[in-house]
């Protein structure tokens, strides 16, 4: 049943997404792909839309997937289940079990889970970029896509060198949209 799937799927996302917005993407990707809710393409569109709208990416993605799969109630349910673990856990930890988080065994486990997650994020980034620039047939890479990727990396690196701070993801997304509209139309 779709409602149960949405509930369990996003509950899993809510339970295992440590450390910020992009940390949750590999897990969300895995779940939406395995249920066939979104393609890799649609997922990256929605990540971009989430970056350009307010709110945590994870919550935005849950709302979108829920709505596209099962309308208003689907989106309500998916959003509810992605938020639920964070809501319950913070109350438990801050109010009842303050010492659990400082426990050395818990700490030891966390110290292993965090680097594992970093590895997962890196691999997802590599794979999603690769899929986006891969050619549909014939050659290994799609030349215009590869050009666009190099332009983006170049802009990002140069900006950091000159301004000494990171180019905001929003600006980079806007730039990639303009470049895409031009390069892929040629």
């Amino acid at each position: 049943m779709i409602y149960l799937d949405l509930f369990l799927g996003f509950l899993k996302v809510g339970c295992f997404s440590f450390g910020g917005a992009y940390a949750a993407i590999p897990l969300i990707r895995e779940i939406v792909l395995s249920y066939g809710w979104l393609s890799d393409e649609a997922l990256s569109y929605m990540i971009a839309v989430s970056e350009s709208t307010p709110g945590p990416i994870m919550v935005n993605l849950a709302t979108y997937v829920g709505s596209s799969q099962a309308g208003f109630f689907g989106s309500l349910l998916a959003t509810f289940s992605v938020v639920l673990p964070a809501f319950v856990l913070i109350l438990l930890l801050m109010c009842l079990l303050k010492t659990v988080i400082k426990n050395k065994y818990v700490q030891a486990i966390m110290q292993g889970m965090k680097p594992a997650m970093i590895g997962i994020i890196l691999a997802t980034g590599v794979f999603m970029t690769y899929k986006a620039v891969r050619a549909a047939e014939g050659a290994v890479f799609d030349a215009p896509a590869l050009l666009l990727m190099l332009l983006l990396i170049f802009t990002k690196v140069i900006y950091k060198r000159i301004r000494r701070k990171k180019l905001s993801p929003l600006v980079l997304i806007a730039l990639s949209a303009v470049l895409g509209a031009v390069i892929f139309a040629l």
Binding site: F18, E51, S75, F87, I90, G112, I118, S176, G180
Partner: protein, 190 residues
């Protein structure tokens, strides 16, 4: 009556925070700090730091963890529900409306091309988030080893389309770290 005003204020304030903060977790924390600590004095700065630390080690968006906690501090469970609802509601409405139109929007070829560009950008942004996390990480052999192992495992899983969950990869990382910790302690005692 006074309590009702407080509840209403909590809901409204967090809706405002939810509506005007782009760019995810850390951006939201600075806004929450500004409003809830400096202006409204709902919680102390120390408390705010504590939640942030706990929020980092618990799953879920940090902004939601903070909102829940502030609500709880001020008005118990009702407060916690209201602040959490408040921070989620604006983006829920926006994304829901977008979800109704996105498909027909993508049929315009100009937009479709733009999104093809965005797709590449998003891949790079994810990669960049990973690289930033590595830079901030302690460079000890064990965590570095786990990063390399899990990245290699995930790449294999992706490229060969193996069905193996990233949750399992994370739990394995935790297990390796715990085992090493226990082994070291035992070794130290002997």
């Amino acid at each position: 009556m006074k309590k009702r005003a407080l509840l209403f204020d909590l809901l409204l304030t967090f809706m405002k925070i939810g509506l005007f903060t782009f760019g995810g977790g850390y951006a939201m924390i600075s806004v929450i700090e500004d409003i809830c600590v400096q202006k409204k004095k709902w919680i102390t700065h120390d408390d705010m730091m504590n939640v942030t630390v706990v929020a980092e080690s618990t799953p879920g968006p940090i902004a939601i963890n903070c909102a829940t906690y502030v609500g709880w501090q001020q008005a118990g469970l009702t407060g916690a529900v209201l602040t959490t609802l408040g921070i989620v509601l604006p983006s829920f409405i926006i994304i829901f409306v977008i979800s109704l139109f996105l498909d027909s929007f993508l049929e315009i070829s100009l937009i479709a091309n733009a999104f093809k560009g965005i797709q590449i950008c998003v891949g790079l942004l994810i990669l960049d988030a990973g690289i930033t996390m590595i830079k901030k990480m302690k460079k000890k052999p064990l965590p570095v080893g786990i990063v390399i192992l899990s990245a290699a495992a995930m790449l294999m899983i992706n490229f060969l389309s193996i069905r193996f969950s990233s949750i399992a990869v994370m739990l394995l990382g935790g297990l390796i770290s715990l085992t090493t910790f226990l082994a070291k302690r035992k070794g130290g005692k002997a």
